[in-house]
């Protein structure tokens, strides 16, 4: 069964964890024990019942009323399956937000309509990041409508401001659904709320039914990442994970950045000899030439995969970095030098008049690589067009490749 992975987005305290908790309860997806545990914890802490505790399992999360690290929960609804990914809304915890949201193809942005909340820095920053991560479908849930007497006047300005921001970052707002909800009171979660007759659209879960991510195309050109080696009956073989396309015994494949063409002599899938293998499968291949340790190399028959010495990128800085940094492409390390062209404020989407990044800024940057790396533009193939970067062994941010500069 296909499971659509959906990440929550939004500023701290706007109700992301509560929303997942309430969705679990209203679709019958949580066990009685987990609900009771949340109920008892709420009581022990002298609080109203907090459905968020079904997700927020650490004591610090419950006592502090915040999500520290990402968690997941699965829901079945009208014959379809969903996995909701909860993420923290605190800006200091953005590395955990990225660790969760990076798995999703769909996002639900939670914005609180309660007084004093509304559109906050993480509201827009999370949308910016979701776009960068390549998330395809968005639903905007304007939450805590119960706290503003379910009034359309509280809803409309938020809706309009978010729509304008989506357009400004290149997400067509007309194709995005907006829904007023109360995660706490279950309004417009699975059934239409009587409290908001002015809302003409569907309940949240019904909006999510239409979000369906495409499968990785098997009919694309072959791309695979070499993981290492394994001993087989016919000698040493390279292990690899196929990202797109197919591979067969007897076929010729290109190994990058070496630029060698080799023939696939033997092929193993799941420990057994096979004639062919396809996208998503982990293989072992014996080839016509021993190339030594090529962990991190790319097997690609696509003309789009190029050997880069420099790349033009969009970076998101979890820590401010310029100059030397370590880039990791699918876990493989390469050193490079970052030159900032333009800094972008991720809470507005507009350029800043500085070339010095601050934490949580984005930047259009050129990176010169010390070694050769096989990559692709993010727009042509995501799996080879993105990387994370480190400075002094600390996670410093993520990047996507806009152009390969040869």
């Amino acid at each position: 069964m296909h499971i659509e992975q959906i990440t929550m987005l939004g500023h701290k305290d706007h109700g992301k964890s509560t929303l997942i908790g309430s969705l679990l309860m209203s679709t019958g997806s949580a066990t009685e024990e987990r609900i009771d545990d949340a109920r008892n914890t709420s009581k022990r802490l002298g609080r109203q019942f907090e459905p968020a505790y079904i997700l927020d399992a650490f004591s610090e999360e419950r006592e502090g009323g915040l999500t520290i690290d990402t968690a997941r929960a699965q829901v079945k609804y009208k014959g379809k399956a969903f996995e909701f990914i909860d993420v923290p809304g605190h800006e200091e915890l953005i590395k955990n937000m990225l660790s969760g949201a990076s798995y999703a193809n769909t996002a639900v942005l939670v914005v609180s309509a309660a007084r004093g909340e509304g559109i906050m820095p993480q509201t827009k920053r999370h949308l910016f990041l979701a776009k960068m991560l390549g998330i395809e479908h968005f639903v905007i849930a304007i939450n805590k409508m119960d706290a503003v007497q379910y009034s359309q006047d509280a809803y409309e300005p938020l809706r309009n401001e978010i729509a304008a921001y989506l357009d400004s970052i290149g997400v067509h707002s007309q194709r995005v659904n907006f829904v007023p909800i109360s995660a706490y009171s279950f309004d417009n979660l699975v059934s239409k709320s009587k409290n908001m007759q002015w809302y003409r659209g569907k309940a949240l879960m019904d909006l999510l039914l239409t979000c369906h991510s495409k499968n990785v195309a098997e009919d694309m050109a072959l791309r695979a990442i070499v993981q290492g080696t394994v001993e087989t009956e016919s000698g040493m073989a390279y292990t690899a994970k196929i990202l797109s396309g197919k591979i067969e015994t007897g076929s010729t494949v290109r190994i990058l950045p070496l630029g060698k063409r080799v023939v696939v002599k033997s092929l193993y899938v799941k420990g057994k000899k096979a004639k062919n293998a396809k996208a998503e499968e982990n293989i072992a291949i014996g080839v016509s030439q021993d190339m030594g340790n090529i962990r991190g190399s790319i097997i690609s028959n696509s003309a789009q995969t190029k050997v880069a010495k420099a790349i033009s990128t969009m970076l998101f800085f979890v820590k401010p970095v310029s100059g030397a940094a370590e880039l990791r492409f699918n876990g493989n390390k390469t050193n490079g030098t970052i030159t900032v062209d333009r800094i972008i404020d991720t809470t507005t989407g507009s350029p800043k008049s500085t070339q010095k990044p601050k934490a949580l800024d984005a930047g259009e940057c050129i990176i010169r690589l010390n070694g050769k790396v096989a990559v692709e533009e993010f727009s042509s193939f995501r799996g080879l067009g993105r990387f994370v970067f480190y400075k002094n062994d600390e996670f410093a941010g993520i990047g996507v490749i806009e152009k390969v500069l040869g």
């Binding site: 968690a71 699965q74 990442i225 394994v230 876990g331």
Partner: protein
């Protein structure tokens, strides 16, 4: 409980295990002879051409069920496992937190040190417990076996290259994405040998296996795999409800994991 695509799960697990084998010098795996760690062994055989390429550790407190010991001997022989049995000290009055937290962890520390393992494959699943749902696939532990859960490494886009604490080790979680029902569907599909305690006898069966001190059976007539799968499709009860150590006090699981309990 949602039934996921077994081929997809299998591929994810194979990738994580191969990554561990490439990245770390001295990998070992924990085996409790339960359904999850036995499934992990079956997956390792797929990842590594039919043989399990790392040592398998059983932390033996001497009070596992007789069926469990029989199963251990049989499968270790059949799959040619490089089995390390590490005895843990058990006092008759001990149970729950004291036992799992102290005894098993002490024994595990001892064996890790003796053999110099830098990575340990542990067959936990996200759906077992709220705290387990917070784990990464590749997760560092300190030299005192502590889990620094308030500051876990970033993990995205196939980058599992978080750094190792000095003197610490890495926990590898290849089964994190699996649901309980997926394990059973896989055992059925792949004919994975399984401990007989999971099957109903006289109206009860074990759904989750700990040792004889802490595990209580559930009421069930499921005496074969199909019946177990059917039972799980409709259950509203947590898998570990028969495990005493999860219940003692609030946050017990968090304490156990922070202490290095698997």
């Amino acid at each position: 409980m949602i039934e996921q695509n077994l081929d997809e799960l299998e591929e994810k697990s194979i990738y994580i295990m191969r990554e561990a084998k490439e990245r770390f010098k001295n990998v070992a795996a924990l085996w409790s002879m339960g359904k999850d760690s036995t499934t992990m062994l079956a997956l390792a055989r797929k990842a590594f051409m039919g043989k399990v390429p790392f040592p398998i550790i059983h932390i033996d407190n001497g009070i596992d069920f007789p069926e469990t010991y029989e199963f251990r001997e049989k499968l270790a022989k059949q799959w040619k496992l490089n089995l390390i049995v590490q005895k843990s000290e058990i006092k008759p009055e001990m149970s729950g937190y004291a036992c799992c937290g102290a005894n098993k962890t002490v024994a595990l520390k001892k064996v890790m040190k003796e053999y110099g393992f830098d990575a340990l494959i542990v067959s936990i699943r996200r759906d077992e417990h709220g705290i387990r749902g917070k784990e990464r696939y590749i997760s560092p532990r300190t030299k005192d076996f502590k889990w620094k859960y308030k500051n876990q490494p970033a993990e995205l886009w196939n980058d599992y290259s978080s750094k190792l604490d000095k003197g610490g080790h890495i926990r590898v979680h290849p089964l994190l994405d699996w649901n309980e029902i997926d394990i059973w569907n896989y055992i059925k599909r792949e004919k994975v040998p399984i401990n007989s305690l999971y099957f109903s006898r006289d109206g009860t069966r074990y759904r989750s296996l700990g040792c004889t001190h802490c595990t209580v059976p559930i009421k069930s007539n499921a005496d074969n795999i199909d019946k177990i799968i059917n039972e799980l499709k409709n259950t509203k009860v947590e898998e570990r409800s028969g495990r005493q150590q999860d219940k003692e006090t609030a946050y017990i699981m968090e304490k156990l994991r922070a202490l290095g309990y698997m």
